[in-house]
Symmetry: C2
Subunit: 255 residues, 2 copies
């Protein structure tokens, strides 16, 4: 049985609490938040506290608090040599105060409080300086049905950049799609199945192999027609840059 | 019962043939291809031909042939005043020879020959110059369980541009994600669930509402950190342009 003390009461902490409660080999022995009010609904299930001085010994302390608070909260913990991890994709392992045994337990997914989360589909990026700690994080991931990946702080920083492309920039492509359809009195609905299929395709195929369309075909005639049709200068700049990126990726001459 | 003559034996024609065969109110009376060899496996199920002169009367002739061939094949059809449509996202309705009653029956999805296709999830963009023809296309869509959208030739051109953003450019975001993970010895697997979730999210929410990350938060500190981490000049240019696009979309000051 792994004993967990959870700190924070936001999106991530709440989802972790729920999945830990359902897991066989994990017990949340305490739940801390600086504002106790957010935890009172749970007071009959778990020991809650807003006082760091009250924290009991546990196998792991999970700081699911805002990025900016990780360093200070870890410093304020009134003990040392215990295993303390944060859940952030961007904060260094070394931001955790060095009086602790340190680690990272970062679930790579967007969380919203009310949306149901299926942890079996969420990759956990784990990091620790000591082997037994790493082993504990592996067991923790497995106990909630998640796949785990050993990712160093340096790798995690780049992974976060990659996630900006995979999520935020991809979503901006959807936004532009939405703008184009609205401008032309077309229902955005028409493109939703294509968007879903595009994401599904690369679950089984590399993005390189999955690419289609005028740029990968080197179909400059269609590209020119499209550039003529696009009036919005921002859309045009993005069309040109990304078309050149595809041409380059697939070894073709740029525009 | 709608009688269909199908022309072409590529991806689209083959998928249409299969779904028409399963549909209650549709009968494929003839299947034409310039090379008969591609059709011979079907010869016991349907009348096949490689001779346009042999074509029988039907309610609709579907030209599922390459974009470049649409105009010529429609011209070569040895009859007039019958309903002839193509299945292309880019070709004008007016490319069909004007001796026919003309229309478009464009399934907005990427087709690959072997992949199973569920037509109930594929939007059909339909266009026709005469009301009874449009009605026939609606019935045809409904008979195969597809949603139909009335889209004019001018709208379809813009829709194709939008589809380049939704599919090709989005896929290039995945490709860059793949490049970043490979460069840093991270498994691309780690990001696949995020990619799928990003596409699923906008099935229920506008892309505007779904946006997250440093740009929409106006978190210039993180953006600067990312730009420092990115060494590949193409990735950097895309990061800057798309970050500015997000900042602009959400009413923030650009970089
Ligand atoms: N949301 C996601 O999609 C996601 C995904 C993966 C990882 N993460 C990471 O997980 C961590 C938590 O994120 P979240 O989304 O759960 O955040 P959140 O919903 O905003 O919750 C933040 C929590 O941190 C607490 N907190 C903030 N400042 C504090 C301070 N100075 N001292 C003590 N507690 C403080 C807040 O306490 P109060 O309730 O008292 O305000 C709140 O409980 C972050 O490191 C984040 O990067 C988030
Ligand atoms: N693939 C997609 O994802 C997709 C999606 C939506 C719409 N479309 C549109 O659907 C149409 C067909 O695309 P597809 O993907 O099915 O193409 P495809 O797999 O390449 O097949 C093209 C077909 O057109 C025939 N053809 C080519 N040139 C011809 C000519 N000069 N005369 C007579 N027949 C000719 C070919 O005949 P042979 O077999 O004898 O070579 C073949 O049967 C195109 O307008 C395309 O834009 C495609």
């Amino acid at each position: 049985m792994i004993s967990v003390v959870l700190l924070g009461a936001g999106n991530v902490a709440t989802h972790l609490y729920n999945v830990f409660q359902d897991a066989k080999h994990i017990t949340v022995t305490q739940w801390y938040n600086r504002h106790l009010s957010k935890l009172t609904t749970y007071k009959n299930e778990v020991e809650i506290t807003d006082n760091l001085e009250d924290l009991n010994p546990a196998d792991i302390y999970i700081l699911a608090v805002s990025d900016d608070a990780i360093s200070n909260v870890s410093k304020a913990l009134p003990f040392q040599d215990r295993f303390v991890v944060h859940t952030s994709g961007t904060v260094s392992l070394y931001d955790i105060n060095d009086k602790h045994s340190r680690g990272v337990f970062y679930p790579l997914q967007t969380f919203t409080k009310d949306a149901e989360i299926d942890f079996s589909t969420i990759p956990l990026c784990i990091e620790a300086l000591k082997n037994p700690d790493l082993k504990l994080l592996k067991t923790l991931s497995e106990s909630i049905g998640s796949k785990h990946y050993k990712i160093s702080t340096e790798q995690r920083k780049r992974l976060h950049v990659a996630a900006v492309f995979a999520n935020n920039f991809t979503n901006q492509m959807y936004r532009i799609t939405h703008e184009i359809t609205e401008e032309n009195q077309i229902e955005f609905e028409v493109l939703k199945p294509l968007i879903l299929e595009t994401a599904k395709k690369i679950q089984k195929m590399t993005p390189y192999m999955a690419q289609t369309g005028p740029a990968v075909r080197g179909d400059k005639k269609t590209i020119k027609k499209h550039l003529k049709l696009i009036k919005n200068p921002q859309h045009k700049a993005i069309y040109e840059l990304l078309t050149n990126a595809i041409l380059e990726t697939h070894g073709r001459k740029k525009l």
